[in-house]
Symmetry: C2
Subunit: 365 residues, 2 copies
């Protein structure tokens, strides 16, 4: 099919799966006939609200990289398929963050904007997450902020974004939304919808002096939601954080905030040789700080031990339901103390399933 | 072919590879003709000493689960192919340990005993490592020692092994060697060839009171060395330890010595909730103790940071040589502080190559 046309084979499989998993819907044939007719006459079809909700939840259930799938049934699905203009998408994202943040008791939410249609691509969010900190390349070659977002920061600046007068390590980037045949929209998230947590340590008061902070809601915004042969290119979703995402990766990766040498110095660790395991020790302490700070701020967060055990519960449930649960070992196993988590000690199904979240389309150049 | 017959396709590939990688050998055709003739008339062929050395080293180079492959060229290959009787194998293993231990400056060594021949299987070492600690199932259902070796301990006892009068957590198991048409041989390793390290901690004197120890040489003894279509079922090999094998797995796995709760108590950590990360903290300290103790005892050991960097060097070397370097991410990436090691942040070739070490044959029942 041409871009934006619905895949009829995927469509049929999806409708059959939906009816099989929800017997109240009765036999799939009547709905299949409608869908075939819509595809034959228009090149695509419209999901019912029930199909959209089911499809989005199953896309989460099928996300092989996600350890947090136990609660896949509880995903809140916001149907904003009528929205395909950039301002509408921006406002939809702002409201998404309010609903998801919920004063700290984070709710898993997905907002589904207009799909790709034959000859009319849906809107697209350029940011890979709704909330991102700027990464500035300084004249002396060094990098201020989050190195991961260097390209996004450059894009924003080239579109006219005015960085704060005093640039910092945690400057919020604007949202950039693209739609067909229009210039991209760039807009700042209102400060009050971006909930953040200052990072402190239960026993090391000096750590607070580093001025670290992180946002409460991880909302991935550039993956394409694929349901029954239809692609929704703008469908931001969020859960809550697992502490290691912040403590073991964002703060610790040498190509991110690279904080372990600073923390090690604060702890007066012997960094003269690797075998003192100063990195490992500093890693534990920064992760303790993250979990402690989110708890102290009343913001939902999970740790890798608890979440690994939950994932094993989820696997058992899927097995009982007679379903395959695809999982990528290298993503599911946490990035620290891996062998202390039960997910380390087994292998997983790897066959990819649909519905699912597909990687972002490569950036147009 | 029937069991023990050499695979002529693998044989030819191996001879060609040997001659390609060592141009001093000249064109492979003359040797190929010999090999074909030997296989046609006897069902198998004999490796030259140079082929055996090359094959064993390349088997190491191709071991997708091994992070320690940088030094593959330096493997010492002991040619004991003439030995196929159980006592000979036992004595060969004892001498292997002496050569490998080298007073603490561990040397990577492999000892190759008789191959499988048509209608005459080679000898087989039942122990999965030359040095293993007993795991006793006690009358009350608890387990004393290393739970991993419960079955091997039961086998040894059933063959008449007399455990020490005072059973402990680190009792050396005897070696069990099997050959065709004979009862298995069981024999104790002389105490002086089993070099061990008492575990102490640089800052926590109480840790020494736990009476922990571990052996200096990890020598895998039940994998089958496969070279050029010939199987050597007894070919024990060793490198030196990477600290996490002992600290993060043998001592810490909940189905092994399960020491983290004990270490956490010693450190007075708050174990009331997972999010205090007491497991992670205790994991770092037991690993520091392992590295510290081996260094203090003058026994070669490596840490996961250093070894990961070496493995990246090895990968570059293999790339430069125009070779694929198969690697299994889930084995190569260390079981703690994974994202702090460079091996975490990339993928690997996964296509299996020969020569190689194949898993042990399933235990005959
Ligand atoms: C409810 C709490 C949740 C937790 C604790 C959780 C946890 C995680 C973690 C730790 C990762 C790996 C992230 C990384 O290493 O970069 C991940 C990835 C992922 N999660 Fe979840 N998740 C949650 C909710 C959700 C929801 C609601 C969805 C979708 C509806 C989702 C879909 C995904 C997807 C698609 C990925 C892979 C992202 C990629 O490939 O870049 N997760 N999750
Ligand atoms: C010189 C130092 C060496 C180091 C530091 C090293 C390190 C390691 C490590 C950490 C593992 C994973 C072990 C586990 O998680 O159970 C491993 C596996 C392995 N190594 Fe090495 N190694 C070394 C030498 C050797 C040598 C000399 C050979 C063979 C000649 C070898 C062959 C293998 C094989 C076959 C495995 C996989 C074992 C299995 O699948 O159970 N290694 N190595």
């Amino acid at each position: 099919g041409s871009p934006g046309e619905a895949d009829p084979v995927e469509a049929e499989e999806f409708i059959r799966q939906h009816h099989a998993e929800d017997p109240r819907l009765g036999p799939p044939e009547p709905r299949l006939e409608q869908v075939r007719w819509q595809i034959a006459t228009t090149g695509t079809y419209r999901h019912t609200p029930a199909e959209l909700s089911f499809g989005a939840r199953v896309a989460w259930r099928n996300s092989a990289n996600c350890i947090g799938r136990l609660y896949w049934r509880s995903l809140r699905v916001r149907d904003l398929r009528a929205v395909d203009d950039p301002w509408g998408v921006f406002v939809g994202c702002v409201n998404h963050l309010k609903l998801a943040t919920n004063g700290g008791r984070i709710r898993p939410v997905i907002t589904v904007f207009a799909p790709d249609l034959p000859d009319r691509p849906g809107p697209r969010i350029v940011n890979d997450q709704l909330i991102r900190y700027a990464g500035y390349r300084e004249p002396d070659g060094s990098l201020l902020g989050d190195p991961r977002n260097e390209a996004l920061t450059a894009t924003a600046l080239s579109l006219g974004w005015r960085a704060p007068a005093h640039r910092g390590r945690f400057d919020l980037l604007p949202l950039v939304v693209q739609t067909a045949n229009r210039p991209p929209l760039m807009a700042r998230l209102p400060a009050d919808v971006v909930h953040e947590v200052p990072i402190t340590h239960p026993e090391l008061p000096e750590l607070a002096e580093l001025g670290l902070r992180w946002h409460s809601v991880p909302a991935i915004s550039n993956m394409r939601l694929r349901i029954g042969g239809i692609t929704y290119p703008a469908a931001p979703f969020n859960g809550w954080y697992m502490g290691t995402e912040i403590g073991a990766r964002n703060f610790a990766d040498t190509d991110r905030y690279n904080l372990l040498p600073v923390v090690a110095e604060m702890l007066k660790l012997d960094t003269s040789a690797e075998h003192t395991l100063w990195r490992d020790r500093a890693m534990v302490e920064i992760n303790r700080a993250v979990l402690y700070s989110y708890h102290a701020a009343g913001v939902t967060i999970t740790d890798h031990h608890t979440e690994s055990a939950r994932f094993i519960t989820h696997l058992r449930g899927e097995e009982r339901a007679g379903r395959s649960c695809p999982a990528d070992w290298s993503w599911i196993v946490p990035p620290m103390s891996a062998s202390q988590t039960p997910v380390f000690h087994r292998y997983y199904d790897t066959q990819a399933l649909l519905p699912n979240f597909l990687p972002a389309e490569p950036e147009p150049v």
